[in-house]
């Protein structure tokens, strides 16, 4: 990372992630390092919650950041640039699906099992007020495999095909689980 001048340091501290990606697009290595410093812990934790194999997570992270370096121009150049962080996650999620696709032939990957349905812990009651209580209960009452599908499709923005690769189940199963989730959540909202 080398020695960083104080002025540059302050300058980078003030920049948000979008700005850092734009500077990376101009070949600024320091901006890229700062982007890595700020976002990689978040990305690593999030990926580890989706894949138990550390080596795969490391590979996915490495490929993601190399792709960010190469493709920063396409983010910075797009007029309708969303948030850089969302863009980063999209890249990482796609790389994760690719990694699962590669390994699918050799062995089944150990995905992280979701939590069994439990009553919310006392500390989490504070959080509960944010999501509608009914909705949260409905979510927690869903079977774990349905929640996995919901997480991949709603939270991670993956398609049915990608979800089926990630979870190692047929596409038809993904669709039927998504339908079950939709019905359950609609009931909770009505």
């Amino acid at each position: 990372m080398g020695v960083v001048l104080p002025g540059v340091r302050r300058n980078l501290d003030a920049a948000d992630e979008d700005e850092l990606v734009r500077r990376t697009a101009r070949g600024d290595r320091r901006a890229f390092d700062e982007l890595y410093r700020r976002t990689s812990p978040w990305l690593a934790v999030r990926l580890r919650r989706r894949c138990a194999d550390e080596d795969v997570v490391a590979d996915v992270l490495q490929e993601t950041y190399l792709a960010v370096w190469r493709a920063a121009g396409s983010f910075a150049g797009s007029a309708t640039s969303g948030s850089a962080v969302g863009w980063l996650w999209t890249i990482a999620a796609n790389r994760l699906v690719d990694a699962f696709r590669r390994r699918a032939r050799h062995a089944q990957m150990p995905a992280v099992p979701l939590v069994e349905t439990t009553a919310p812990a006392a500390e989490d009651e504070v959080m509960a007020g944010r999501v509608g209580q009914d909705l949260e209960q409905a979510l927690l009452l869903l079977p774990a495999e349905v929640r996995q599908v919901l997480r991949a499709m709603v939270l991670d923005g993956l398609s049915v095909r990608e979800t089926s690769l990630l979870l190692g189940v047929p596409e038809g199963t993904v669709k039927s689980r998504a339908r079950r989730a939709r019905i359950a959540l609609r009931e909770a909202l009505s």
């Binding site: 948000d16 992630e17 812990p41 978040w42 812990a121 939270l155």
Partner: protein, 268 residues
């Protein structure tokens, strides 16, 4: 989404992985983290030793990878794309040649004032070399792409022709101002010949059409004029309305031939 930040205990349990939090909490944390830089920083401070070791490993690998990889690809600027719609550099030498010929004609004319105006004789064919090059498989390295592009065709030829005319017409007006002839008599035949080339070009190929129109003009007008040293009737000032009509008619004809430019034969 919300300004409610998860507390540090929740974040550190999220960072630990495992089953310390229920799914609803994990999801709200994840959605929040995607939008909140402060909480991402707090998460970075709560990561486990495992994650930090993993990140160090990845950082070293990314550093190595970056040393080997080229700098980020630059995106094509919007103005550059617009420029390419209108201009190919292959036109430049042909336009330069045409301009030189016009200047030579003008110099010859001013040296021998008794002769019929050479500029007037050359004006109608002046844009033809440029038009022929604008739509040519020999000169444009991208012609295969153009041939396969639905948006190409007559519109593209017209754009490039407009570029050619944008150079030739002011030059003609400038040179023509130095002669005694009417500017309308210089510009209208020039536009008429261009329209004729485009109208025929779809059928026989733009290059052949340009050669044909140029040769016809040379045989029917230029040679007899040089032999008899007298301008023909249709290059006298009174013929301007007729040229205007002919220009309009040829342009309309060219417009009806747009479908011809969907075939490869026009790109010869």
């Amino acid at each position: 989404m919300t300004t409610h930040h998860p507390n540090l205990a929740v974040i550190s349990r999220y960072a630990q992985g495992g089953t310390g939090l229920d799914d609803a909490t994990v999801w709200t944390v994840e959605v929040h983290l995607e939008e909140c830089a402060d909480c991402r920083a707090r998460l970075a401070g709560s990561t486990t030793g495992d994650t930090r070791a993993l990140l160090d490993r990845v950082a070293a690998a990314v550093d190595r990878g970056l040393d080997e990889s080229p700098p980020p690809a630059r995106l094509v600027q919007a103005w550059s794309a617009a420029r390419r719609r209108w201009l190919i550099w292959a036109l430049a030498p042909w336009l330069g040649m045409t301009l030189t010929a016009l200047v030579c004609a003008w110099m010859l004319e001013s040296l021998k004032p008794g002769m019929p105006s050479l500029v007037l004789l050359l004006a109608p064919v002046a844009p033809l070399p440029g038009v022929a090059i604008a739509w040519s498989r020999r000169v444009d390295p991208a012609w295969e792409l153009i041939a396969g592009t639905p948006g190409a065709g007559l519109m593209m030829l017209l754009r490039r022709t407009a570029t050619v005319l944008a150079v030739i017409v002011p030059a003609l007006a400038l040179v023509g101002a130095g002669t005694r002839e009417s500017p309308a008599l210089m510009l209208l035949p020039c536009l008429a010949c261009t329209a004729a080339t485009i109208g025929l070009g779809g059928r026989v190929g733009v290059r052949r059409a340009a050669i044909g129109v140029g040769a016809t003009w040379a045989a029917v007008v230029v040679l007899p004029t040089l032999v008899t040293a007298d301008l023909p009737a249709f290059l006298q000032p009174g013929s301007v309305p007729a040229w205007a009509l002919a220009t309009a008619a040829l342009a309309a004809y060219a417009a009806t031939r747009a479908a011809d430019y969907r075939g490869l034969s026009s790109l010869s």
